[in-house]
C-alpha cells in the first residue's frame, strides 16, 4: 500500500472515531448546530479525500449521508433517533469499507449492505420534516481566546470602567485574567487618573469573536488584540460525561504560554517516537558513563562538559517524554459508544460518567489500555449491573452508573472503573475457584483474596455466556496486559453496592528518575517519585532481627523492613545503614538499605521471563559503570513487607 493511501486510512480512522463521539453527543442534544456542522464536515472531508485516494465506493456512499446532514444543516430536517442509529451503523460500515482498501481499477461490484444502508438513508431523507432551523441551544463548541487589552491612557477619566469590561468578559465563559502593571510609572510620576494598566485574558467560551469584540465596543481606542487559539480539546458534556472537574482556567493559562494553535501540530508515526525514545535511552546510559569517567578523572574541564551534557540530556528527556504523553480522554472517548451499544444489547440502562480525562499517560500505555478497559466495562455491564427489574426491586435508580476515573498519584496513574451494580459474589467465586482447582475446598480466604481470583487464568463467573462477555478472554487477559505495562490491577467490591476495578499504571514506560541504593552490595533503583526521604537507621535498631520494627520519624511511627532480609541476602556488616522512606497510598514505609548512592536517571529495561515473576522488581537498568541494577516496585514491596509482618506478628 502506498504511503498516501496509508495516510488517508489513518486520517479516516481518526475522523470516524471522532464521528462516533459527535454522533452520540448529537443524540443527547439533537439541535446542536455546532455538532450537526461537525458531522457534516467529517462526512464531507471523508467523501472528498476518499475519492482522491481511490475509495470511490466509499465516496459515493458518503454522498448520501452528507446529503442528509446538509439538509438538517439548512433546516430542512431534524436529527431523529433513527438517523443517529442509521448514522452509527453507517459509520461502522464505512470503517469496513476503508479496511478493505482502495477500489480495484474496474470498480467494485455493488454489495448488498451498502445498498441497503443507502436505501434507508434515502427513505429517511425523503420523509424528513423541515425542522426549525437548528439553534445552538446545545453545548456550543468551546473555543479559547487570548485577549490582550490596554485601555487608552484617558480611558478611566473618560468614564470607562475596565473592571466592568472584564466582568462582562468573564460572563462569556471561563476567564483567566492577569493584570499587567509594567507600564505603571514610578510613584513620583504617577497620575492616578491615567490608566497605566493592561490585562491579559485567556477566555474559554462558547461565544464567538463578535461577542468578545462587542464587550470592547467602547474601548476600541485602546490597544486590543484578540487571538483565537481554536476549539478546546473535547467539547464539554457529552451524554453522561461529567466535565465539571475539568478546570478550564489552568489549562487555558498553560495554553497561553505554549500557544499551541492547531496548525502547529505535527503528526508523527509512533514508531519514530519509539526510535527517538530508544536513542534517548542509550544517550542517558552513555551520559551516566561519562559522569562516572569524569568523576574518576577529576578534571574540571571535563566535569564542566559532563555537567552541561547531563543538563541537556535531562531537558531532552523531559521534552521527549512530554511528546509521548497523551490524555486518557482518547481512550475514554471510545467507551461512550461501547456503553451505549452494550446497554442496548443487554437491555440495561447505563450511564457512563468519565472524569479526569485530561490526565496524561505515556502513549504506549494508552495504546494498550483500550482492550483491558473494554473488558472491564463489558464485565461491569454484563455481570455487575442488575437487570432493570432487579434494580427496581432493590430500590436502586433505574439508570445504572458506570464511572471511569483517571488521576495521577505520585509516579502512577490510577484508572478506575466503578459500577453501582450487585457487587462480586464471594461465595460464587469461591465455588467456581474450587471447581477450577484454583482453591482447595478447605482453604481459608478473605473476600478480598476471593475477589482477586477473578484475574486468574480460566476463571469466569458468568452463569450463561452472553455474546457480550463470552469472547474467550477473561479478566486474566486484563491482568496480563496491565502487568506487561508494569502496572497492577486491583478489585474492590461491596455486595449490593458495586464493584471497582482499579488499574495502577506507571506514568511512563521508558525513563524514570531513580534513587540508586545498595543492598548487600547489590545495586537497586527506587523510583524517585515514591521516595519521601532518607534517614539514618538508629544504632539501637541495627541489631533488631524481628519483632515490631517501627521507627519514629518526627511525630509519626513508620514501620520498616530490612531489604536484605526480604531479598534473602546475607546481612553485610555495614555501620551506617539508611532507611529510605517511601509512601504508597498515603502509607509510609521504611526500606532499610546499606547505602544510598544518589539520584540516577534510569532507563527501564524489561525483565526477562526468568525474573519477571519476582515480586518487588519492576525492571532492570544499566548503571554508569556498566553493571546491571534492578528497579524496585515499591508498591509491591510494601505489600509484601506488610504481608510478611502480619505473618511474623
Amino acid at each position: 500500500m502506498n504511503p498516501a493511501t496509508q495516510s488517508f486510512i489513518q486520517e479516516a480512522s481518526e475522523i470516524l472515531e471522532g464521528l462516533d463521539v459527535t454522533l452520540l453527543e448529537l443524540e443527547a442534544s439533537p439541535t446542536d448546530s455546532a455538532r450537526i456542522d461537525a458531522v457534516f464536515r467529517a462526512l464531507h472531508t471523508l467523501k472528498g479525500s476518499g475519492a482522491m485516494f481511490g475509495f470511490t465506493a466509499l465516496s459515493k456512499f458518503l454522498h448520501h449521508f452528507e446529503n442528509a446532514f446538509d439538509r438538517i444543516r439548512s433546516g430542512e430536517g431534524t436529527v431523529s433517533a433513527d438517523l443517529i442509529q442509521l448514522s452509527l451503523a453507517s459509520r461502522d460500515h464505512m470503517e469496513r469499507m476503508i479496511a478493505r482498501g482502495p477500489d480495484p481499477e474496474a470498480g467494485r461490484p455493488p454489495d448488498a449492505e451498502t445498498d441497503a444502508l443507502v436505501e434507508k438513508i434515502r427513505r429517511l431523507v425523503e420523509t424528513m420534516q423541515p425542522g426549525s432551523a437548528p439553534a445552538s441551544d446545545g453545548t456550543p463548541t468551546m473555543r479559547r481566546f487570548v485577549i490582550d487589552f490596554r485601555p487608552s491612557p484617558d480611558a478611566m477619566r473618560n468614564g470607562l470602567r475596565p473592571d466592568l469590561l472584564l466582568a462582562e468578559l468573564a460572563d462569556l465563559g471561563t476567564a483567566d485574567i492577569t493584570c499587567l502593571g509594567h507600564h505603571v510609572p514610578a510613584l513620583e510620576d504617577l497620575d492616578p487618573t491615567v490608566c497605566h494598566l493592561a490585562w491579559h485574558v485567556v477566555l474559554v467560551t462558547g461565544a464567538g469573536r463578535g461577542e468578545i469584540e462587542e464587550v470592547f465596543l467602547f474601548a476600541s481606542d485602546g490597544d486590543l488584540e484578540i487571538t483565537e487559539l481554536g476549539p478546546v480539546g473535547e467539547p464539554a458534556s457529552a451524554p453522561g460525561s461529567a466535565s465539571e472537574e475539568t478546570p478550564a482556567a489552568p489549562e487555558a493559562a498553560q495554553a497561553a504560554e505554549q500557544v499551541p494553535s492547531k496548525s502547529t501540530s505535527v503528526r508523527v508515526q509512533s514508531h519514530r517516537l519509539d526510535e527517538l525514545m530508544d536513542q534517548l535511552g542509550e544517550l542517558v546510559i552513555a551520559q551516566a558513563r561519562l559522569n562516572r569517567i569524569s568523576s574518576d578523572v577529576q578534571d574540571s574541564a571535563l566535569a564542566g562538559v559532563a555537567e552541561e551534557i547531563e543538563r541537556l540530556v535531562t531537558g531532552l528527556r523531559d521534552a521527549t517524554l512530554s511528546i509521548r504523553m497523551l490524555p486518557v480522554e482518547l481512550v475514554f472517548g471510545k467507551f461512550r459508544r461501547v456503553v451505549r451499544d452494550l446497554s442496548g444489547e443487554l437491555g440495561k440502562q447505563v450511564k457512563l460518567d468519565t472524569r479526569g480525562g485530561e490526565t496524561e499517560v505515556d502513549k504506549n500505555v494508552i495504546d494498550s489500555l483500550t482492550e483491558p478497559l473494554v473488558h472491564i466495562i463489558r464485565n461491569a455491564i454484563d455481570h455487575g449491573i442488575e437487570s432493570p427489574q432487579e434494580r427496581a426491586a432493590r430500590g436502586k435508580p433505574e439508570h445504572a452508573l458506570v464511572k471511569m476515573q483517571a488521576r495521577q498519584s505520585g509516579g502512577e496513574v490510577l484508572i478506575s472503573v466503578t459500577d453501582d451494580g450487585a457487587g462480586l459474589d464471594a461465595e460464587a467465586i469461591r465455588a467456581r475457584a474450587i471447581e477450577r482447582g484454583l482453591l482447595a475446598a478447605d482453604q481459608e480466604a478473605s473476600d478480598e483474596q476471593l475477589y482477586n481470583l477473578i484475574f486468574e487464568p480460566g476463571f469466569s463467573t458468568a452463569k450463561s455466556l452472553s455474546s457480550v462477555s463470552g469472547r474467550g478472554v477473561g479478566m486474566d487477559a486484563v491482568r496480563r496486559v496491565i502487568e506487561d505495562l508494569r502496572g497492577v490491577v486491583e478489585v474492590k467490591s461491596r455486595p449490593g453496592l458495586g464493584t471497582q476495578v482499579t488499574l495502577r499504571l506507571p506514568l511512563t514506560l521508558a525513563i524514570i528518575d531513580g534513587l540508586l541504593v545498595k543492598v548487600a552490595g547489590v545495586p537497586f533503583v527506587l523510583p524517585l517519585s515514591s521516595v519521601e526521604e532518607c534517614v539514618d537507621l538508629p544504632a539501637d535498631e541495627k541489631a533488631r532481627e524481628s519483632g515490631r520494627a517501627l521507627l519514629r520519624i518526627r511525630d509519626e511511627l513508620v514501620p520498616y523492613v530490612n531489604l536484605d532480609t526480604l531479598f534473602g541476602f546475607d546481612r553485610l556488616d555495614e555501620d551506617d545503614r539508611r532507611i529510605v522512606v517511601s509512601s504508597v497510598d498515603g502509607k509510609r514505609m521504611g526500606l532499610v538499605v546499606d547505602e544510598v548512592v544518589g539520584q540516577h536517571q534510569t532507563v527501564i529495561k524489561p525483565l526477562s521471563i526468568y525474573h519477571r515473576g519476582i515480586e518487588g522488581l519492576s525492571g532492570s537498568t544499566i548503571l554508569g559503570d556498566g553493571s546491571v541494577a534492578m528497579i524496585l516496585d515499591v508498591t509491591a514491596l510494601v505489600k509484601r513487607a506488610q504481608a510478611a509482618r502480619r505473618v511474623a506478628a
Binding site: 468614564g159 470602567r161 473592571d163
Partner: protein, 121 residues
C-alpha cells in the same frame, strides 16, 4: 444610593423616553436641553452618567464633551453619545474628545438599558 443620569438633548421626546425607561429601573433621570444647560446641571449635583445628543443648539454634543473632560471634577463620568448611522465620523470625533460610548438612533429600551448597564455595572 440611586444613580443619577443626565440626559442632554434638545428633543423633549428623547429626554422623556430616557426617563420613562430608566426611572422604573431605579435611576434618577434629570434633563438638559443643550450643552450649556447640561454643564450647569453637572456642576450643581452629582451625576453618574451623561447621555448626550450630538446635534444641539447653543453648544453641541462634542463641544460639551470637550468642556466636560477639561474639567477634572467630571473625571470618570461616562458619556454616552446619541448618534445616527450616518454620523460615524462625528462619533469618532466625540470619542477622541472624551466620550465613553455611543448609542445609535433609533434605539429601543433594551439597547439603552444595555449600554447604561455596560458603563455603570
Amino acid at each position: 444610593m440611586t444613580k443619577t443620569i443626565l440626559s442632554v438633548d434638545d428633543s423633549k421626546s428623547i429626554r422623556d423616553m430616557i426617563g420613562f425607561t430608566l426611572e422604573p429601573r431605579g435611576f434618577t433621570v434629570i434633563g438638559a436641553a443643550d450643552g450649556v444647560e447640561g454643564l450647569a446641571k453637572l456642576g450643581s449635583q452629582p451625576v453618574n452618567l451623561v447621555v448626550c445628543d450630538l446635534n444641539m443648539p447653543n453648544m453641541n454634543g462634542i463641544e460639551m464633551v470637550r468642556k466636560m473632560r477639561a474639567d477634572r471634577r467630571f473625571d470618570g463620568i461616562p458619556i454616552v453619545m446619541l448618534t445616527t448611522e450616518a454620523q460615524k465620523e462625528k462619533m469618532m470625533e466625540a470619542k477622541q474628545a472624551g466620550a465613553t460610548g455611543w448609542l445609535v438612533k433609533p434605539f429601543d429600551e433594551a439597547k439603552l438599558v444595555a449600554v447604561v448597564n455596560k458603563l455603570l455595572g
